[in-house]
Structure formats: C-alpha cells, structure tokens
C-alpha cells in the first residue's frame, strides 16, 4: 500500500475526534455510575453534581444484588477450563484427522465443519435438557458441553494449519523410534503455537461473553456468569435499578479492557488469522 499522506496532522486531529466519539458510550456509563438512579433516568448527559453524586454506592448495590464477584469467579473457571480443554483436545484431533486421512477422519472433519454452521437455537432446547439429564449443569460440566458445541471452529483452524506443516519432520521422528503421542507433544504441538494462540483468542472472546448457553444449562441457583448477572439485574418485571446497573456494567468491562491492554497484539493477530481461514 501507498502510505504517504500530505498533511498528517489533519488526519491525526480528525481521527482523535472520531475516536473520542467512539469511546463516548463507555465514558457515559462510567460518568453515570457515580450518580443516583433518579438522576440517571432524569438526564444521563449531566455530569455528577453535589446533589446527584453518590460515590461508590451504585457499585456496592450492584455487587450485592448480583453477587458479582462470585459470577466473576465462575466466568473465569468456565472460560479458562473450557478454553484449555478445547485447545488440548481439538489440536490432537485435528492433527490426527490430517495425518490419518481415512474415511473415519474425513467423516469427522465434515461433521465438525457442519457444526460450524449450525446456530445455537437449533440445539438450545435439547442441549439444555441433555445437560440436565447428564448432571452437567455445573461449571466443570460446561467444559465438556463447550468442547462439544465449540469444537467446529477449533478443529477447522487447526486442520488448516496442520496441512501446512511439512510431514518430513514427523517422519524423521518416527524413524528415530518416536511414537505418535510423543511426536505430537514434542514436535507438532510446539510448531502449532501460532494456531493455538489464534484459537485461544477466538474461543476466549466467545466463552467469556456467551450468555445463552450457560443461562440455559447452568444450575442458576448455584452458579452465574457475568453476562447472566447483568441480565439478572434487569429481572422479569418492573423498572431496572439503573444505578446498580451502571456499577455492574463498569465492573463487567474492567477485566475485559485490562485483558485487551495486555494482549492486544495477539488478539488482533488472532482475529486476522482466524478470518483468513474462516
């Protein structure tokens, strides 16, 4: 690409304005999180005044009403556990599929590809029944459910990557007496590292924010995740406590933004790599 521009500072100024406007919705939530709920409903665009300022009260209310820290913990357990399990199992499966290339492997691959297309609504009712029936409606049980329902994308990206790995290295290892298990873990897996990062990023973005699957499968009396807690605050009937809601929204965004600041490069690379294969 040709990347010269005539007046670079004009571009910088223009984009600064656009970027600030882009961040405004988030800033608005942060500002309102310090205002009493009456004042939020009345005029969300006013800054906190001596009259409307309530300090950390909205945060305290929000956390108490939703038990948010417990939800944060369960979200972490579900996201990390499922992501690790998906990465470990599907990378093995993908390598095996590519190297075996027999009828069973091909059938598997086609099934996973099909899984990629199917929207969650298709299995939502039956899956929530089956999870309950098998007693998997807990955070560890969800690892298995997520591995099952989320396998498609992971297998797809991993097989695409494995096809590009030269076979000769593995062959040499086999001749030297290395079995398939050791070959995979000592030789193939380290080579697959970029694909592992890509899949990890895409899966974590999905798992952390997923609302419907855990909502329908988890035993909600015992476990909630962050999206479920936020939605729970709205409740079935009546008006939402906008004060508590603002506090919860800010708290829900903080971990995500921290995560983003630390792993931005990997996230963007992962998205691009995932898209090229998708």
């Amino acid at each position: 690409m040709n990347d010269k521009v005539r007046r670079p500072w004009v571009w910088t100024v223009t984009f600064t304005v656009i970027a600030l406007a882009y961040l405004y919705p988030i800033a608005l939530v942060v500002i309102n999180s310090f205002k009493g709920k009456v004042f939020i409903a009345d005029n969300p665009f006013s800054l906190p005044s001596a009259e409307s300022f309530v300090g950390w009260q909205n945060y305290i209310d929000g956390v108490q009403k939703t038990n948010l820290f417990a939800s944060f913990g369960w979200s972490l357990v579900i996201t990390i556990g499922s992501a690790v399990l998906i990465l470990a199992c599907t990378s093995m499966t993908a390598w095996w599929i590519v190297r075996m290339d027999n009828r069973y492997a091909k059938t598997l691959y086609t099934s996973f590809l099909f899984n990629l297309v199917v929207p969650f609504q298709m299995v939502m009712f039956t899956l929530s029944w089956l999870t309950d029936y098998l007693g998997l409606g807990n955070p560890v049980g969800l690892w298995i459910i997520y591995l099952g329902f989320g396998a498609g994308l992971a297998v797809f990206i991993f097989t695409g990557f494995v096809k590009g790995i030269p076979f000769e290295i593995e062959e040499a290892a086999t001749i030297d007496g290395c079995g398939p298990v050791r070959t995979f873990f000592l030789i193939v897996l380290p080579v697959m590292k970029p694909a592992v990062i890509t899949v990890a990023i895409l899966e974590v973005m999905w798992l952390w924010n997923d609302y419907l699957l855990p909502y329908l499968t988890l035993d909600l009396k015992k476990y909630m995740t962050i999206p479920i807690s936020v939605q729970y605050l709205k409740g079935g009937y009546g008006a939402v406590d906008m004060g508590a809601m603002m506090g919860v929204l800010v708290l829900a965004m903080i971990p995500v933004i921290v995560f983003y600041l630390f792993s931005q490069k990997h996230i963007i690379k992962g998205v691009v790599a995932g898209a090229v294969k998708g």
Partner: protein
C-alpha cells in the same frame, strides 16, 4: 506411521468425539426429530408430521421477525463493511496515532452483547428522552438502535481484517497505476478493491451471519418490545420455546428453518470464495 497412528486414534479423537456427541450430535438429531412432533419435554413427544412447519406460515409474529431480521442483516452488512473499509483505508496511511485509533475501534468487540445492549440502552434512551420517547416506543427505533449498536461493535473487527488485506497489496502495483495516470479513485476501484476481494468476501459473510444470529444485544436493548415487533429471529425462537408452553414443537421447526437460512448463506459464500480461487 499410519498404522501406529491408527492404534492411538482413541486418544487423539476420543475425548473430542465424546464431547461432540453430547454437546452437538445428540441435541441436533433430537432437535430435527422433535420439529416433527408435539412435545413439552424431550422424552414425551407425539409425531405430527409437518404440522409445526405448516403453522409457521400462519404465524404473523414469526413472518414479521423473518423480514425484520433479513432487513437488519442487510443494512448492517452494508453499513459495517463500508465504514470498516473506509476506516481501514485511512488507517493504513502513515500518520501519528494510527495504532491507537485502531485499538480504540476494535475494543467494543471484546465487550459482550448483553453489556453492550445496556450501554446503548442508556445512551439511546437518553437521546430519545429529549422527545419524551424511548427505544421501545416503536419497532423502527429498535431497528435503528440495534443497527447503531451492531455497527459500533463490529466495525473495528472488520477494519482489522481489511487492514490486513490492504497491507498485502503490493506498493509497486499502486505506483504503476499512478504512473499510468490513474486517478486515486480509479486506483481504488480497479487495483485495490479487486486485490482485497478475499477480505471483502470474508467480512461480508461474517457480518451477514452475525446479523442473522444476533440475540444478546436484542434481548438487552429492546427484548422484542413493543409487542414483539422488534424481535429478531433468534429471540423469536427463544420466546417461542420459553414464552408459553405448548409451542415447543413450533419453536424447534423455526430453528430448523433458521439453520437452513444460515446454511444457505454459508454455501453461497463458499461458492464465491471457491470461484475466486479458481480465477487466481
């Protein structure tokens, strides 16, 4: 090597396949079967043939949500791709701060749909409140509210993909076009766009399927109000299942139709991508 690999098949594929059967195959097969039955619970169903499907054509709420969703997917696909491409086109140029701007535009993607929905509920109701209205006043408000939300969320994601595409366009080609006297817009039209076509196909596919599948943002922002008129397909199916009993079979039939729509889009995009590969 294949021989010993075959012997270890249970280890390499076993766990994934077992989970896949529980998490996908069984629910899917049951789901297809149940769409031809009347049921309250999965284990007690009676076969009714195509009755559930026949009911769909008389279900006005469903038909409304069908075109409402199609319109939504179409509008968001066009807007997101146009804006994402335009921003990407400018952010590959060299000026101070471009990396920060990229980060800012991408960020909303990491925030979940439910949280996004409530962020925009505050802002949109605040604006509409100036005219004593709210987002649930009319389904048109809900429609454009969700369009704005969706654009805000996804422009950054598609921008990242377009930036990668634009960066792979060789500088020599653009210089050659300029040397031959091509104007900026002509270069864009005849050199750059054809070369980033793979990115355009991918982004179009992603945005159109995201539009069809959108659920969380819809639930948080309007929850279908007023009177189920701002219900997108996914929410309509959800409400058919869990709104009132006796319609589970109809809900399952709707889900099958939903799958067919999404699958057809995927097949068309696949065909597109293939034909382009052949051309290269």
């Amino acid at each position: 090597m294949k021989k010993s690999l075959a012997r270890w098949g249970w280890l390499f594929t076993g766990p994934t396949v077992a989970a896949f059967i529980i998490g996908f195959i069984v629910p899917f097969v049951l789901g297809v079967y149940l769409s031809f039955t009347e049921f309250r619970t999965v284990t007690r169903s009676t076969w009714v043939g195509l009755d559930n499907y026949a009911k769909l054509f008389g279900d006005e709420v469903f038909l409304h949500s069908l075109w409402y969703t199609a319109a939504f997917a179409l509008v968001t696909t066009v807007l997101i791709n146009v804006f994402a491409f335009a921003i990407a086109y400018m952010l590959v140029k060299n000026f101070r701060g471009k990396n920060i701007f990229r980060s800012v535009f991408f960020m909303p993607n990491l925030i979940g749909g439910i949280v996004l929905g409530y962020i925009w509920l505050l802002l949109l109701n605040g604006v509409l409140g100036m005219w004593a209205r709210s987002i649930t006043y009319d389904a048109t408000y809900g429609f454009w509210g969700m369009v704005i939300l969706m654009c805000w969320q996804q422009i950054g994601y598609m921008m990242v993909i377009y930036i990668a595409g634009l960066q792979s366009v060789p500088t020599e080609l653009i210089e050659a076009a300029e040397m031959d006297g091509a104007s900026k817009s002509r270069t864009l039209r005849s050199v750059i766009i054809p070369l980033v076509m793979p990115s355009i196909t991918v982004c179009t596919f992603l945005t159109i399927t995201n539009g069809f599948k959108m659920f969380d943002q819809n639930l948080a922002l309007t929850n279908g109000a007023p009177s189920r008129l701002s219900e997108l397909l996914a929410l309509n199916i959800f409400n058919t299942f869990y709104g009132r009993t006796g319609f589970e079979g109809v809900g399952q039939a709707k889900a099958v139709i939903f799958l067919i729509i999404v699958a057809v889009i995927a097949l068309v995009q696949n065909r597109f991508a293939r034909s382009k590969e052949a051309a290269l």
